[in-house]
């Protein structure tokens, strides 16, 4: 079985092809962990690198993430107990007062495609809802998004509520959205900011490792 076909399918965002190749690989008894680490993750890294250098665009990222997620769903039940595909658990939402969610959904989709467990709380999310979701899902990271300068200020309240909460393990906080800047993120005490969905994945990986 030539698994570079799977690498290519993920890289080119071809879900159906990816699933077909993977099914054959499974039938031939290939170790799912090898399929994931040596081919799929590598393909996602390559599409990310192409995006960073301007050779691929957001739609390409999304098509790859979609293929990745589909194939992962096929492999997950086959993984031996104890091994996990999850790179970490992330709670994500658009903050209270705000309804703009396409940017947040792109970030969620890329994180999922790159192996994170993502709990998407939707739009108009209050600080209580963020804190409770972190508690319930033992999240490693909280991601917040906003469209306007008026609504981004609510992120301050959420970071404060997380710090003031009785959560023993405090999650890391990532923020983003059109009106945000690195400086604003630092000012409100967030652990990181990124201007795009690929950068969000790189940042999340870094925060989990740190």
């Amino acid at each position: 079985m030539n698994l570079t076909q799977l690498y290519d399918a993920i890289l080119n965002g071809k879900l159906e092809e990816g699933i077909a190749v993977t099914k054959t690989a499974i039938d031939e008894g290939t170790d799912p962990q090898v399929i994931i680490n040596d081919y799929m993750v590598k393909a996602m890294e390559e599409i990310g690198a192409r995006f960073e250098s301007g050779k691929a665009f957001v739609p390409n990222l999304l098509m790859s993430a979609r293929a990745m997620k589909g194939v992962l769903n096929l492999l997950k039940p086959l993984l031996t107990a104890g091994t996990t595909t999850s790179a970490g658990t992330i709670v994500i939402g658009t903050v209270k007062g705000d309804l703009h969610d396409i940017g947040k959904n792109l970030v969620a989709s890329m994180l999922e495609g790159c192996g994170f467990e993502v709990i998407n709380l939707g739009v108009d999310v209050s600080s209580d809802q963020f804190v409770e979701a972190v508690r319930k899902h033992h999240a490693d990271i909280v991601c917040m998004s906003a469209l306007l300068t008026t609504t981004m200020n609510y992120m301050r309240e959420v970071t404060a509520a997380i710090q003031a909460s009785d959560l023993v393990l405090k999650p890391r906080v990532m923020v983003g959205g059109a009106p945000l800047t690195e400086a604003f993120a630092a000012e409100i005490g967030a652990d990181g900011y990124s201007s795009n969905a690929n950068g969000a994945v790189i940042l999340a990986r870094r925060l989990i490792r740190a």
């Binding site: 665009f57 957001v58 739609p59």
Partner: protein
């Protein structure tokens, strides 16, 4: 007050603007993607309900960084106000792709197809902008007969004009005008909506946007400048 609903076919809808919004900076996007985009545009054409409303008020006062009309003072900021200073009238407007379009966006979110969701979102942004453009064209046409010209349109949330000034702007219109509502954080719902002002007068000229003289770090146009 002038209010109108525009069939999609009459909109100056610009597909290349949609591609820009999708972050595609190259002439040709991935092949299968072009087909998906066209499919999404035809569906959007059926699901949108572009509408606009505008109202002209005689200019009450123009200061270096604010304008007054309709009994309200708008903190338009010095960058925008320069382009409004010859205004005899101020036309405040609201334009939208319609509640029906937002309903379609919400439907798509339940389908777990992030690519289509992304395409539809960018198409909706261009529908809202194209609606504002055709409104300006028609306004320009009807005012020309009276010897008046119009400026570009300027929106709260740009160039130092606080986004919260939309509260006063909306008070100049009946509630739920064109189906658009403003929440307490000054976000319009449906999301694919724009609001703003256009200067009207016999000496008003359409000038290029004043990005060159503005250094606001929180504006995306300046961030793009930094990247180059």
């Amino acid at each position: 007050m002038k209010q109108a609903e525009i069939p999609f076919a009459d909109l100056p809808f610009d597909r290349t603007e949609v591609c820009r919004g999708l972050g595609i900076t190259q002439a040709s996007a991935p092949g299968q993607f072009e087909i998906l985009l066209d499919e999404a545009i035809s569906e959007a054409a059926r699901r949108c309900r572009p509408q606009y409303a505008y109202r002209l008020f005689p200019t009450e006062r123009i200061d270096p960084d604010s304008i007054s009309a309709g009994g309200a003072r708008f903190a338009t900021g010095h960058v925008i106000t320069r382009y409004l200073r010859d205004a005899e009238y101020l036309a405040f407007f609201i334009a939208t792709a319609g509640r029906e379009f937002d309903a379609w966006l919400r439907e798509l979110k339940t389908e777990d197809d992030i690519l289509k969701e992304f395409l539809a979102d960018a198409i909706g942004s261009e529908i809202a902008e194209a609606t504002a453009r055709i409104m300006a064209r028609r306004m320009s046409g009807s005012l020309a007969e009276k010897g008046m010209q119009i400026s570009n349109s300027y929106s709260p949330g740009y160039c130092g004009w606080p986004v919260s000034d939309q509260q006063q702007l909306f008070e100049l219109f009946p509630p739920k005008i064109c189906g658009v509502e403003l929440n307490s954080s000054s976000l319009m719902s449906p999301v694919k909506s724009v609001s703003g002002v256009i200067a009207v007068g016999s000496r008003v000229q359409k000038m290029p946007y004043g990005c060159a003289i503005c250094g606001r770090k929180d504006c995306y146009k300046n961030r793009l400048k930094q990247k180059i």
